[in-house]
């Protein structure tokens, strides 16, 4: 089932477009990596997908029974306050806030959901710890658990590996791959990590001068092709991708 369908989408702030001509789809169970240079508009695209800012032009369609509110979200590390006094339990449970409706407090089922999300991410033992005292990798797990409380359909992550050491990065990727496989949660991840994208993602969206959208294996094939031609920069690599995609 198609969850998100973008057709010639332009995104930006206050009507000023940062990137245009974005075409891609996200289906149930997909693992999409969004690649591209800094300032290409990846984060802006993500905010548009989340419904935080309106699209400038083009079509952004959500699937049946699916809305922007059902997207769990993991912000860039720097955006989460580092000195916030909150326990892990409180942070995870806050993922359920959107479902409160007119009730002031969480239901028992919300609390159970938070417990099971913490169990899934292996952070049950950190439950009563203070969020600000956790390591970078642990923080990311807590935030993923929070996103899972909001939804199991789709999680969007903005450079989740930034600031993590290689081991924590590796664990994070494995956790996401497991979620994707076991729960069928669609993953949309902004990343600079091309090898990881080729390894874990099912699809790749490249945003930049020469956009590309296709399966990860296509992307990998194209990249090795361009490497064989002596083209190694991202821009020229994606130029080749685009050409090949047209031929395909």
């Amino acid at each position: 089932m198609v969850l998100i369908d973008c057709d010639n989408l332009s995104v930006g702030y206050g009507g000023r477009r940062i990137v245009s001509g974005i075409n891609f789809q996200v289906c149930d169970g997909d693992y999409l990596c969004i690649l591209g240079p800094n300032g290409a508009g990846k984060s802006t695209l993500m905010k548009t997908l989340l419904g935080l800012i309106p699209p400038v032009s083009g079509r952004l369609q959500y699937g049946e029974d699916f809305t922007a509110r059902q997207i769990g979200y993991l912000p860039q590390e720097s955006l989460v306050q580092s000195d916030f006094p909150a326990s892990v339990k409180e942070v995870v449970l806050s993922g359920c806030t959107g479902r409160l409706g007119f009730r002031p407090f969480f239901r028992k089922s919300d609390k159970q959901l938070a417990e099971s999300a913490m169990a899934t991410l292996g952070i049950t033992s950190l439950k009563n710890k203070c969020f600000r005292e956790l390591s970078g990798g642990q923080k990311q797990r807590v935030l993923i658990a929070r996103a899972l409380c909001a939804t199991e359909k789709m999680i969007v992550l903005d450079e989740p590996a930034a600031g993590l050491d290689p081991r924590a990065t590796d664990e994070l990727y494995k956790t996401l791959a497991n979620l994707n496989r076991d729960k069928g949660t669609a993953i949309v991840m902004i990343s600079h990590d091309v090898p990881a994208a080729k390894r874990y993602a099912s699809h790749v969206l490249y945003i930049g001068d020469n956009p590309f959208f296709g399966s990860a294996s296509e992307y990998a094939a194209l990249e090795s092709l361009s490497a064989g031609n002596g083209l190694t920069t991202a821009g020229s690599a994606s130029a080749t991708h685009k050409g090949v995609k047209r031929n395909a």
């Binding site: 509110r69 006094p85 909150a86 409180e90 806050s94 959107g98 969480f106």
Partner: protein, 281 residues
């Protein structure tokens, strides 16, 4: 009996002292509840800015001879609170500057108006009272107590009812918005309520000292507590005890109420700061 104990016993037998005690305790608890989210949102200065706006509005009300000054002060302060919060969200620097600009302008205009147009003989005394609070607490009327009671009840109700949403919006506004919490409504409501609390508190501690009631309890609690709930409860307790102790102390040693409470809160903060340092080791 020592003189200060006599003072205390005598004062507490008078109804206005009890009124003041109740009002101050309630208002400071309300200020501390909202203080937690304001401090964490980097809006610590909103209390200061708004109290200056309230001072300016009070000056206008005095000059225009409006009998019920609240009728003008309250709406004007609320409008400014919403403005500051909205402006602050566009960019950080702008928010900072907006508060600074608004507060000094209001202060200047207020003092200017009072000096130019007020017929009263004791301008310096009036201004001093508005800025630093009453030197003693005789000025409170029964109606002030009733208004404080009602407003504080509303604030506490709002806070309890929206507690989970306030947490979510304070911790990560984008996530809250993306998953269906209306952050704008929560933010605006917070701004409105903080404006009300500040106008109420101005009568007690004066407009220059209000931000202490807003930020000190939360900052102290954040030194030692590790969860949001802990910080919230702890800051409410700190606010309650330091305001009650502050009033009793001010009666005993005959000092201005507002300044005594704030000084006491500064001492509490220093204590908690040290406790926090020791604990972390």
């Amino acid at each position: 009996m020592p003189e200060f104990v006599e003072n205390l016993v005598l004062s507490l037998s008078l109804p206005f002292a009890i009124y003041a005690l109740i009002c101050t305790a309630l208002v400071s608890v309300c200020a501390s509840l909202l203080g937690t989210t304001l401090v964490l949102k980097r809006f610590s200065f909103i209390g200061d800015g708004l109290s200056h706006v309230a001072f300016g509005a009070l000056a206008i009300a005095t000059v225009l001879h409006i009998a019920e000054d609240m009728a003008l002060v309250l709406p004007l302060t609320i409008v400014c609170a919403v403005l500051i919060l909205r402006l602050g969200q566009s960019t950080k620097v702008k928010g900072d500057a907006a508060i600074a600009m608004l507060s000094v302008t209001a202060l200047a205009v207020g003092y200017l108006l009072l000096n130019k147009f007020q017929a009263g003989s004791n301008i310096a005394g009036d201004v001093c009272t508005a800025l630093f609070g009453a030197t003693n607490i005789v000025v409170l009327k029964m109606s002030d107590v009733v208004i404080s009671l009602v407003m504080c009840a509303l604030t506490i109700l709002f806070f309890v009812f929206f507690y989970n949403r306030i947490f979510s919006v304070t911790f990560d506004e984008n996530f809250a918005t993306a998953t269906g919490t209306n952050a704008k409504v929560i933010n605006t409501a917070t701004a409105v309520i903080i404006a009300i609390v500040i106008v109420l508190a101005m009568k007690l501690v004066g407009s220059l000292l209000i931000s202490a009631l807003v930020v000190f309890p939360a900052l102290s609690a954040m030194r030692v507590c590790r969860s949001f709930k802990g910080v919230t409860l702890c800051s409410a307790v700190i606010a309650l005890t330091s305001s009650v102790c502050g009033i009793l102390l001010s009666i005993m040693i005959d000092t201005p109420v507002g300044a005594t409470i704030v000084a006491l809160q500064a001492v509490v903060f220093a204590t908690f700061f040290i406790i926090g340092l020791i604990r972390r080791k």
